[in-house]
Symmetry: C2
């Protein structure tokens, strides 16, 4: 017997709130992880990219706080297990490798996984906010989504240099 579907608008709203809590915690985890990734980078360009992305990420945290305000909810995170796992992978690389261009190649890979995670997370939350008619939240999420995509592209560009260094025998 199919379950009654009354109140599903309210349920979708609940799903959006769970998604925002997840992203909020994920971004906070990245604020802690990015300085370590920057410190481990051998390439100046990669270090700069991580440092700049850190500043951007702090802005992403603030945007999620604005989204919570628009929903009249306190800004609260919920442990994002996926981001925890993604960051663990980066940490393992840093422990395993000396700082050099091979570690940089690995760090770029780890950071791109994070960006892809965030692109999927913001894309889904934006769609749900749109269906629910939260236009202000849609705009906040879209601005961050675009920045995550740009960061991902910048990392792809950086990987070309870093990868060619990684096979050079010096």
């Amino acid at each position: 017997m199919p379950r009654e579907k009354t109140m599903t608008g309210a349920s979708l709203q609940k799903l959006l709130v769970i998604e925002l809590k997840d992203i909020y915690n994920a971004e906070q985890q990245m604020v802690k992880a990015l300085p370590k990734m920057a410190k481990a980078a051998a390439s100046d360009d990669l270090r700069t990219a991580f440092e700049e992305h850190l500043e951007q990420t702090k802005g992403h945290v603030e945007r999620i706080e604005q989204a919570f305000r628009q929903l009249d909810l306190p800004a609260r995170g919920k442990k994002c297990s996926a981001m925890e796992g993604l960051i663990t992978e980066g940490k393992e690389l840093i422990e395993e490798y000396e700082p050099d261009h091979v570690l940089d190649a690995g760090l770029i890979g780890a950071a791109q996984k994070v960006e892809h995670y965030e692109i999927a997370a913001y894309g889904t939350a934006r769609t749900h906010a749109e269906i629910l008619g939260h236009q202000g939240i849609v705009e906040l999420l879209e601005r961050t989504l675009e920045e995550e995509k740009q960061t991902n592209e910048r990392l792809t560009e950086l990987s070309v240099d870093v990868n060619s260094e990684a096979v050079a025998v010096g």
Copy 2:
């Protein structure tokens, strides 16, 4: 004093092997998770998509085994913490929601995070295999990468129907 960069070709090879071990384990985790996601789906189309992706994923596992054979290495995984976290998020949704179209919307979001993770992982490993001249492995990884991208697009298409159901009051 900069560390000497001798043998970095060998180090990049080591990084590629770590990446293959990570993906191998990630795909094996998905082989276990997808039947649960299919079972939890309310929409027939979504259930079918998960079931078909399960069959595809089994093929992805075999391709990684072929890649290991080309490197004369035993096919061995290394716990992929990121995929573990991604799957945990899907499990939490299944525990939290009754099977309905809101859960489907959440499951699609969770599955798209997985696809994005895999797209980043295969993209990075393919680039490293290419630099190292492992053309056979490049082709194996690219075939899977294309399938992951197609799955992600199919999920986006499905989300349109599922999301409109999720706000319908029936």
